[in-house]
């Protein structure tokens, strides 16, 4: 396996991630790498893109740009504003063919002008993920793959594998109405790090930790692949 380069990190993002950092090598989120997110439903995809938007708000800062590649996009750009990102910093590539998504992602990940590239992909082979990984190692762009309806999970060369699902929201004193979004963030696999699971609330543009960091037992890690 070709070199995993430490050192490409983002201080703003690390400070935002709080205790999730403990799972990463050198306690910092690997940028300049490809991260994989699993999703099995529309609801799941929504919270996954929400989590990614939370990461992007720190990654992009004021000047960055993100390319969002999809063949079935339903993302509603104005909502990104509530994650602290200007939606006009996003460029959307809406492709007809699923096969073009990986090609476009490969091209885009080589472009140093972008901060990150998000691709909604159903299937990706090991070779393809390897190519993406090699592309980002040169350009230092961060890649996010959202695997919609991932049926058969193959091994990929991605640096991590996440699964985000929604949890019932909470409000103080049993107030009526929908509270702050709350997610279960599972880090199923991380290269040179320690997988784990966290309950996180998204509140005022920040991640709030409901429960502290807990390492997943070894058996569960194996199950998750």
């Amino acid at each position: 396996m070709q070199g995993f380069k430490p050192g490409s990190t983002n201080a703003a993002l690390d400070s935002k991630l709080g205790t999730i950092r403990d799972a990463f090598p050198n306690r910092s989120f690997p940028t300049g790498a490809v991260h994989e997110f699993l999703s099995d439903s529309k609801e799941n995809t929504t919270v996954t893109s929400g989590f990614i938007a939370g990461l992007l708000s720190a990654l992009m800062g004021n000047a960055g740009a993100t390319l969002w590649i999809s063949s079935s996009r339903t993302l509603f750009p104005p909502a990104l504003k509530s994650f602290g990102i200007a939606p006009d910093k996003f460029i959307f590539l809406d492709l007809k063919k699923e096969a073009d998504v990986i090609w476009a992602m490969d091209e885009a990940l080589k472009c140093g002008a972008l901060t990150s590239v998000v691709g909604e992909i159903k299937k990706i082979s090991f070779m393809e993920s390897r190519r993406l990984q090699l592309a980002v190692e040169k350009s230092n762009v961060t890649g996010f793959i959202v695997r919609n309806n991932a049926k058969n999970l193959t091994t990929t060369a991605c640096v991590s594998r996440w699964k985000i699902s929604s949890l019932p929201s909470e409000l103080h004193d049993d107030l009526p109405g929908v509270g702050y979004p709350k997610w279960k963030v599972e880090l199923l696999r991380i290269r040179n790090g320690q997988p784990g699971a966290w309950d996180i609330q998204w509140r005022h543009g920040k991640f709030k930790f409901v429960e502290q960091f807990q390492a997943t037992p070894l058996e569960q890690q194996k199950q998750a692949g």
Binding site: K42, E43, T45, T46, V47, S49, G50, F51, A53, A63, G64, A65, L67, T74, L75, F76, P77, P78, A79, L80, K81, S82, A86, P87, D88, K89, F90, I91, F92, L93, D94, L95, K96, D100, W103, A104, E107, A108, C111, G112, A113, L114, T115, S165, S166, L167, P168, S169, P176, G177, V178, G179, P181, K182, W183, W202
Partner: protein, 499 residues
Amino acid sequence: MEKRFVSIWFRHLRTDWFTRLQPHLKNLPFVLRTPQHGRMVITASNSVAESKGLSCGMVLADARAILPELEVQDDKPDLAEKLLTRLAEWCIRFTPIVAIDLPDGLLLDTSGCSHLWGGDALYLKEIVRRLNERGYEARAAMADTIGSAWGVARFGKGSLVITSGTHVDALLSLPPEALRLETETVERLHKLGLHQVKQFIGMPRTALRRRFGPQFLHRLDMAIGQEIETLEPVQPVEPYQERLPALEPVVTAPGIEIGLNELLKRLCGRLQGEQKGLRNAVLKCYRVDGKMVQVDIGTNRPSHHVTHLFKLFELKIPTIEPALGIELFVLEAPKVEDYLPQQEKMWEGKAGIADVRLSELLDRLAVKVGQQAIHRYLPDEHYWPERSLKSALSIQEETTSEWRSDKPRPLQLLANPEHIEVTAPIPDYPPMLFLHRGQRHKVVRADGPERIEQEWWLQQGQHRDYYRVEDETGNRYWIFRLGHYHDETYQWFLHGYFV
């Protein structure tokens, strides 16, 4: 397509121009003079003078002896070229491709033009009539090749419209001068008794080449149409155009790439000098078989970056079918915009939406997937969710209003709201449960309603009452009721997903 050319011959171009300015010269013998080797020589004469036996090249003193009442004026150098250029530009009304043919003619590529004037004959008649109106004596002929049109215009006896395919027959009875040959060659032909084209057109080519040189065959081939002659239009059809003829027909992709690179270098050099950048470029490949194939590219921002443009074309080169070979490459830039020098600085600047590398990436993507796949959005001042954003026209376009975040909006919005079945209590309360795609969701928490009215000046219809609801598993949805509760015609829809 069948090629048709018109050659216009101005028999008295310069004297006609003087006559236009001084109408009293019209019926007088009139010549132009120029000093040559210490004496005055006639360089142009009008028809009256010619009928009296004067001709070009005569010494003025001799002419004065023949015709004492001769009107003489000083010739102007380069007058013919200036006049022809002006006339050629005027002739663009008849066809876009007009070339000047020094010293006394114009050449028009009229392929596919004459039917607009009701046929070849009417077309020619109209050209000649309009030129006569302007005061120029003109003779025009139309044929399939430039050479034959030229010859017929000057030496043809019969009809000046040579019907398609018969131009060789028309040439047969013409004198050898009609082939645009050098004076010595013409003299030699006459000396040999070859006074008409038909007397030597059938001779073996090797013999002709030996006796009269390759230039003779060249001219002959041009007249017959075995060799393609191109016109150099006075007004290039495209202002930003580069041409590259190939010595040998090009059939391979590397050959096309070399040609393209050369053309791009020339064009970009020129654009750079003028501080312009192209937004569109077309590569036209003219093939040996007379057909033309072309590929085009577009860019998101003005560019004169050779490597980048080459990359864009590179993706399309495989679609060029060279057939027997390409003999001429033409690169055109139909859309050119000002290239602001400060854009250059962004090369080193921070990465982001304004980065040149990003627009170059998008250009490359657009070549493969099409420009319509690339979207960027700007806020639009509407409450109606589908109308709250608009597509940006360009990658540089700035936002003119703020993105709103005061009302909750779902991160995923369905393009078409999906119908749901609900159980809802009294008016204005959120539903207790809803059925979406056969799945039952029990509503645990809810916010709302947020009423969004139709903008009646844009679209008629009922308002929407939006609720943000959360089901027992923690998933959050955006649902709305279309219409008033008491109307009994209301419907419920799922429109989006919250994080």
